[in-house]
Symmetry: C3
């Protein structure tokens, strides 16, 4: 069965598709100096863009894992998340706190979506 990859670097593919399921790399914000709500918005914009590249969209997300650098950002992140997510089609979700790969990054989200 074919595997399609997009956004290939020496380290990872931003988008991988196999058997009707799309796997995104962990999405981080562009501007790491922003506060949590703006960082969350940038991450969700990135997810929209990556899913569009793969011919999918946020209404078809199956599961999401959210990592917060500081779990005290939970409520503010959720405010942006809930304004973004398709209210009739939210994904399965898990959230926890973890130091992220670069200082300043407050939120990273991975998603799996249906084509």
């Amino acid at each position: 069965m074919t595997i399609l990859r997009q956004g290939i670097s020496s380290r990872m593919s931003q988008v991988v598709e196999h058997n009707g399921v799309i796997y995104l790399s962990g999405q981080v914000p562009i501007d790491w100096s922003l506060p949590i709500k703006e960082q969350t918005k940038e991450v969700l914009d990135n997810i929209d863009q990556q899913l569009a590249l793969a011919g999918s969209n946020k209404s078809r997300i199956l599961s999401a894992t959210i990592w917060l650098d500081d779990v005290r950002d939970f409520d503010q992140m959720n405010e942006v998340w809930e304004a973004w997510v398709d209210p009739e089609n939210p994904p399965a979700r898990a959230t926890c706190e973890a130091r992220l790969a670069a200082p300043g990054v407050r939120v990273e989200i991975t998603v799996t979506a249906a084509k």
Copy 2:
């Protein structure tokens, strides 16, 4: 391909099903004042219930990720896990320590299962 969602809130679906695979949201205990073994038991009871809703059961879990608030709870969590898991059909599993979304929650588990 159809996506089925159950337990829909403004934030997530507790159960998402697509192409014969079931994705559960991170399951947490009901009573956050309990010690680790009782919290683990509550989480596993929740997983049983969610999988039953989706027409599956613990013998069909493909993978599980376990987050512990304190990795020193590892042995006690495993004791409850090993008494629960189907001995002939345990899932692929990964465990690590991470601060969870609410203080008091000592364990959160996500699973992916086959229908």
Copy 3:
């Protein structure tokens, strides 16, 4: 649909296969006294071996999650990762810092691969 499991213990299966997708348990190094680059190499060797058992290989990895005990090991881990990964077929990837199940373990990696 059939589920195949290999490397079954009382706690988990090292390899689970369902519908053309392979789920590996979190792979850790063998020698926990080694520095990060050698630990990463041992983990990637383990992944090669587990995927071979399931009739797959690193060119067919769909997604990988990397947990580092200390995110300051990020660059050294990446050096070994980039020398190992199939340059034309890297997976979707997410990395974060998390205390791992045993002291001394500096890196744990889970992967999902296509058969």
